[in-house]
């Protein structure tokens, strides 16, 4: 293809400027306070600590979308995720497969307690082969994306989306003889991630995140590209946290003392 580079730049400049203005008007955003860990915060930190060296495998749901938004991968074949079928339970075994292919590379599995429970029996494969997979469980005690849709479109009735805090992932890691770490507060996130990433063997990091954080922007099903929701609608914000008739996550089945 030929064409004068300066000419092309001039032709595209207004377009690139316009996109930049859109970006400045509504960048990705979240608010991290000192009480509850935001999933986006964990992913941003994970990205900061691993940069472009990691192969990242994700599961399916909110954590996957946050990872897609905040983990700016730079190389092909370093982002392993289930797209079309949206298979919860994909991420952890996929991470093992990648780690077996590349024993010396950093492989991180970003998952959630909902997805992880669908194939956690494979912990034994990581343990017996001492595969240094770093598992980051964004544990919010709910099927996050289902809960988000229920808050937005089903008046906050949490039908079958509350999972509670069972099992205890640090004890589970211990049962397989691998290292388990836990972060309950925002200030603990960095040290847990750093410690986990530094460890030479498999690590299970149980990071308790905000069950009510929603993933935006969002095009509601059937909407067009210019009809995005950028934040919680007013009625959702007003109803304190979560839906109007929400059941507290801690009241779910199988609650462990914090």
């Amino acid at each position: 293809m030929d064409g004068n580079p300066a000419q092309i730049k001039a032709l595209r400049a207004p377009w690139i400027k316009q996109i930049d203005e859109w970006k400045k008007a509504h960048p990705l955003k979240y608010k991290q306070d000192d009480k509850t860990i935001k999933p986006q915060f964990v992913i941003e930190k994970l990205y900061e600590f691993t940069k472009h060296n990691a192969i990242v495998a994700t599961d399916v749901g909110q954590h996957q979308m946050f990872a897609a938004q905040y983990f700016k991968g730079s190389k092909p074949r370093t982002w392993l995720t289930s797209g079309g079928l949206g298979t919860m339970g994909f991420g952890f075994p996929a991470a093992i497969g990648a780690q077996i292919a590349f024993p010396d590379r950093l492989v991180v599995c970003i998952t959630s307690e909902g997805s992880f429970q669908m194939n956690l029996q494979e912990l034994v494969v990581a343990a017996e082969r001492k595969l240094p997979v770093k598992i980051v469980v964004l544990n919010n005690g709910v099927h996050g994306m289902v809960r988000q849709w229920q808050d937005l479109f089903y008046e906050g009735r949490y039908s079958a989306s509350i999972l509670g805090k069972m099992p205890d992932y640090v004890k589970l890691a211990d049962a397989y003889g691998i290292v388990g770490l836990r972060a309950l507060k925002p200030r603990e996130v960095e040290s847990v991630l750093k410690q986990g990433l530094k460890h030479k063997g498999p690590v299970l990091m149980d990071i308790h995140t905000d069950p009510y954080e929603n993933c935006y922007p969002m095009i509601p099903a059937g909407g067009a590209h210019h009809q995005m929701m950028l934040e919680d609608p007013p009625e959702l914000k007003l109803s304190k946290k979560g839906g109007a008739r929400k059941r507290k996550v801690d009241e779910g089945e199988g609650v462990l003392p914090a």
């Binding site: 859109w22 190389k75 339970g89 990648a98 077996i100």
Partner: protein, 327 residues
């Protein structure tokens, strides 16, 4: 020298350069596992559930670009990998799954751990086949790897009855395949490519929209070159992430349901859309009738059935995205 089906199976894997097999044993595949465990150069990863094996093979395939290999038993062994097959089929992951089957004389008898593996997997595999004669085993395996990794990649299932794994045949691994009716187009039509180039030079608000096809085609460098030379912003689908650096000034990140505001606004106002190895999935497009309302569309894809499947294309180009972008 004659070899058993199990030995032919293992030698064929060797010829394909397979280093790792993910699987779990069972009655009808015991003969194959028995031979496999005696090999030093193929690592057998024993998973604790067949679904784990399928996804591990997917992770292996996505990270390496080579076919992931699964070996499981009949019945529940096979049904447990269905999710993995369906996942690989949706996301075009090269996978070769070997399933055990009851002996040929028992097929259809509701024998112990019998399932119609070919029937069950038909809608979620690119190709599947029941091997009825040990003399056809090597050829079938060769074709399975070729089909899984060529064109638009995908999962292939090879069903091996127990008696076939025990029966003997001469082994000769074929060096090429010749499949009538399967010949993926690699090079794009020159005229179409020329037309596309003209559109690209004219457009004021163009977008490059990259899907997983670009990852499989190893087209990352070519996309970068195209974007930088033409100064066109790049957005990626969930599957396309990584095919263009997320930190590049021209990267707009992911588009679609949870894409950036700026990204989706750009899509909505674009006057030219260059779709590269993407399939206009509903999570990407949202409401189709209002998707990219102002854009002319160039669609490059190796799979002709992906073009105009959900969305119109003014300039369709069937071919390997790397080869087409090079033109």
């Amino acid at each position: 020298m004659k070899m058993t089906g199990a030995e032919i199976f293992c030698e064929s894997l060797r010829c394909e350069g397979v280093k790792t097999v993910f699987g779990l044993p069972g009655g009808v595949v015991l003969k194959i596992f028995d031979v496999l465990c005696q090999l030093k150069d193929i690592d057998l990863v024993l998973t604790r559930h067949e679904q784990g094996a399928a996804h591990m093979a997917e992770g292996y395939a996505k990270a390496t670009g080579k076919a992931g290999v699964v070996l499981v038993t009949s019945g529940p062994g096979m049904t447990n990998i269905v999710t993995g097959l369906a996942d690989a089929y949706m996301d075009s992951v090269p996978l070769v799954a070997f399933t055990g089957q009851v002996s040929t004389d028992l097929i259809g008898n509701d024998a112990f751990q019998e399932a119609d593996n070919v029937g069950i997997s038909r809608p979620c595999t690119k190709h599947n086949v029941l091997v009825k004669d040990v003399n056809e085993l090597a050829q079938t395996i060769k074709e399975a790897f070729y089909i899984a990794t060529s064109g638009r990649p995908g999962p292939v299932l090879v069903d091996i009855p127990k008696d076939v794994s025990i029966a003997k045949a001469e082994f000769k691994y074929p060096d090429k395949v010749n499949l009538r009716g399967y010949n993926p187009t690699v090079n794009g039509n020159k005229n179409q490519v020329k037309q596309a180039a003209e559109e690209i030079m004219k457009a004021k608000k163009p977008m490059i929209y990259v899907g997983g096809g670009a990852v499989f085609a190893d087209a990352a460098d070519d996309i970068r070159e195209l974007a930088e030379i033409t100064q066109i912003p790049v957005t990626m689908t969930l599957m396309g992430l990584g095919s263009f650096p997320g930190t590049h000034p021209l990267s707009l990140g992911m588009l679609g349901m949870h894409g950036g505001y700026w990204t989706n606004m750009a899509m909505h106002h674009a006057d030219l859309l260059i779709a590269v190895g993407a399939r206009f999935d509903d999570r990407v497009t949202g409401k189709l009738s209002e998707f990219c309302p102002e854009a002319r569309v160039i669609h490059i894809d190796i799979d002709p059935t992906s073009i105009k499947k959900t969305f119109h294309a003014h300039i369709p180009i069937v071919g390997d995205v790397k080869a087409v972008l090079r033109d």
